[in-house]
């Protein structure tokens, strides 16, 4: 019999709280699996490889939305990560002390902006910038290239990806900033001491020393990009079914979250709502998969080689 001391009660309490995180994840998964059993029974693997989203046949496939999710997140990383690293490097390595703190605070404020605001801004402002300055010129001159083909509207994968790029900046930038500040000054001094320029110090030493942390920051950003719903739904155009199968960056489409957000509440039949829940399950699986893969990469690739590789 364990004595009911304060410490023991505290220990049990904390254990229960810690376990609740796992329980919530398991419950989530359970609900998604049972809820989507119907659609998987009807469509089988076709639910993942199929392109149609048709209530009449009925035939449901989330491949366009999976690809849409990966493409928009990919654009987000491609554009957002360099910007975030630039911000982090500026704050730690270059900014005068007086503006360092207010500037990092402002960058973190970006995270406080509700995603629906980003969505509104995306619809009302960014969409037209993208249309006028990126899509139309590229389409006019390089329209033969599949990625730039179609009829640009400003809605679609590119605009969604760019909105996501902005939305991941606070996460990636502030984590990278912490990582870069944690690089010991003795390393910087040693590098300056052998005649490295500031650029070389940052590139060969600071980023190299902090690479596993920066990689973690990027994965956090990716997680945010994959799951972001509201802002994406507002700018991606929500082309459903096969018409959302990505060919061009400028075409309208779907991501898994926008698919669910856009249709779930209108789903009339049990099979249809099961299909939306199935999309949720696929989304959860992708997120978990990326996290696990990232973890493996971080421990295997980065750390093992980390000792002695340039």
């Amino acid at each position: 019999m364990i004595k009911l001391t304060g410490d023991n009660i505290f220990k049990v309490l904390v254990a229960v709280i810690a376990a609740s995180a796992i329980v919530i994840l398991l419950l989530n998964t359970y609900v998604l699996i049972t809820g989507s059993a119907n659609v998987f029974a009807t469509s089988g693997f076709g639910f993942i490889s199929g392109r149609n989203w048709n209530f009449d046949i009925p035939s449901f496939g989330v491949l366009p939305a999976i690809l849409g999710t990966l493409i928009t997140s990919g654009i987000a990383l491609l554009v957002g990560v360099p910007l975030s690293l630039g911000i982090a490097i500026f704050i730690v390595e270059m900014a005068p002390r007086a503006i360092r703190v207010p500037f990092s605070y402002l960058v973190e404020m970006l995270a406080a902006v509700p995603s629906v605001i980003y969505g509104l801004w995306g619809m009302l402002v960014l969409r037209f910038w993208v249309l006028d300055y990126i899509e139309t010129p590229l389409n006019t001159h390089l329209g033969w290239f599949p990625l730039f083909s179609g009829t640009p509207t400003g809605y679609g994968f590119l605009t969604a990806g760019l909105i996501l790029a902005i939305m991941i900046i606070p996460t990636v930038a502030s984590v990278s900033r912490e990582v870069i500040s944690a690089v010991p000054n003795s390393i910087r001094e040693a590098a300056y001491g052998i005649g490295a320029t500031k650029w070389e110090v940052i590139r060969h030493w600071v980023l190299s020393y902090g690479r596993s942390g920066i990689f973690g920051a990027i994965i956090l950003g990716l997680g945010r990009a994959i799951g972001e719903t509201m802002a994406v739904t507002m700018v991606i155009g929500n082309a459903s079914g096969a018409s959302g199968m990505p060919v061009s960056l400028f075409q309208t489409g779907q991501t898994l979250p926008s698919l669910i957000a856009g249709g779930f509440f209108d789903s009339q039949t049990a099979l249809l709502s099961s299909a939306y829940i199935g999309a949720g399950l696929v989304l959860l699986a992708i997120s978990l998969l990326i996290n696990v893969a990232a973890h493996v990469m971080m421990t295997r690739v980065l750390k093992v080689k980390g000792g002695a590789v340039e």
């Binding site: 052998i194 005649g195 020393y209 002695a308």
Partner: protein
């Protein structure tokens, strides 16, 4: 005192509003070892960090006056600090090999920055530098291992090899043995004496025995002032200034 390699002229330095160096005029002779001694906070580290423009990397750091390297003022606006740091190498208080690089790459890093690629010549420079730092025999089979995988004393000699690889003219050492055990320290001391054949050495130390054992000239600093400078023999056997005498006899410090 001919044959001056590097010289400070009316050198003042500050951190913020706190003055760390006051009108230092000190000449360091070529191919000799100059020790800079003094109690903690006397400005000795700050002084040698002005000699290769490392001082200015500290935020809020300022300075005035001149440092003449071969009679050229290294603070002249046309002078690139990067070039100065290649000519005036530095070894720090705590061994700081690059943790993400192998032993080989630690030594080769400076040369790679200058554009030297992995060719035969680079291998030879690495070998030569490690030999000069009396480390080659201990690590020649482990060149691919991380620079931080060896002992503290070996790491410090690796840092010396890293400085040597750039063929500098001057090597600055900021209390290079203060983080090491006595045996490792003795090895570094012997190495320092060897180095003066090819390089000009300035070494900061708060170990007076070390200063008297290795150096040819000694400067005693106190509260940002250069109190006395002369041959090590004179400073330790017949100091002119009372403060110097009190310091070397261990009355304060």
């Amino acid at each position: 005192m001919d044959n001056i390699k590097i010289q400070s002229v009316n050198l003042n330095a500050w951190f913020g509003t706190k003055q760390a160096l006051k009108d230092i005029n000190l000449s360091i002779k070529a191919n000799a070892i100059t020790a800079i001694i003094g109690p903690s906070g006397c400005g000795k580290s700050t002084f040698i960090r002005t000699l290769n423009r490392m001082h200015e990397l500290t935020p809020t750091a300022k300075m005035s006056g001149q440092i003449l390297l071969d009679s050229q003022n290294i603070y002249d606006p046309i002078v690139d600090p990067v070039m100065i740091r290649r000519r005036v190498g530095m070894v720090f208080q705590k061994p700081n090999p690059f943790p993400t690089m192998s032993i080989y790459d630690n030594v080769a890093a400076g040369l790679k920055l200058t554009g030297a690629r992995k060719d035969k010549n680079l291998d030879e420079v690495v070998k030569y530098s490690l030999q000069q730092a009396t480390l080659w025999d201990e690590v020649k089979d482990d060149l691919k291992k991380p620079g931080t995988s060896i002992s503290g004393g070996q790491q410090q000699r690796l840092c010396i090899a890293r400085a040597i690889a750039l063929q500098p003219e001057v090597i600055l050492m900021d209390e290079p043995t203060s983080a090491l055990d006595p045996i490792a320290s003795a090895k570094i001391e012997r190495l320092v004496v060897e180095l003066k054949k090819n390089y000009t050495v300035a070494i900061v130390t708060h170990n007076m025995q070390q200063a008297s054992r290795v150096s040819d000239y000694t400067a005693f600093m106190y509260l940002g002032n250069l109190i006395e400078f002369g041959s090590t023999k004179d400073i330790f056997e017949s100091p002119k200034n009372q403060l110097t005498e009190r310091y070397i006899t261990g009355e304060f410090g």
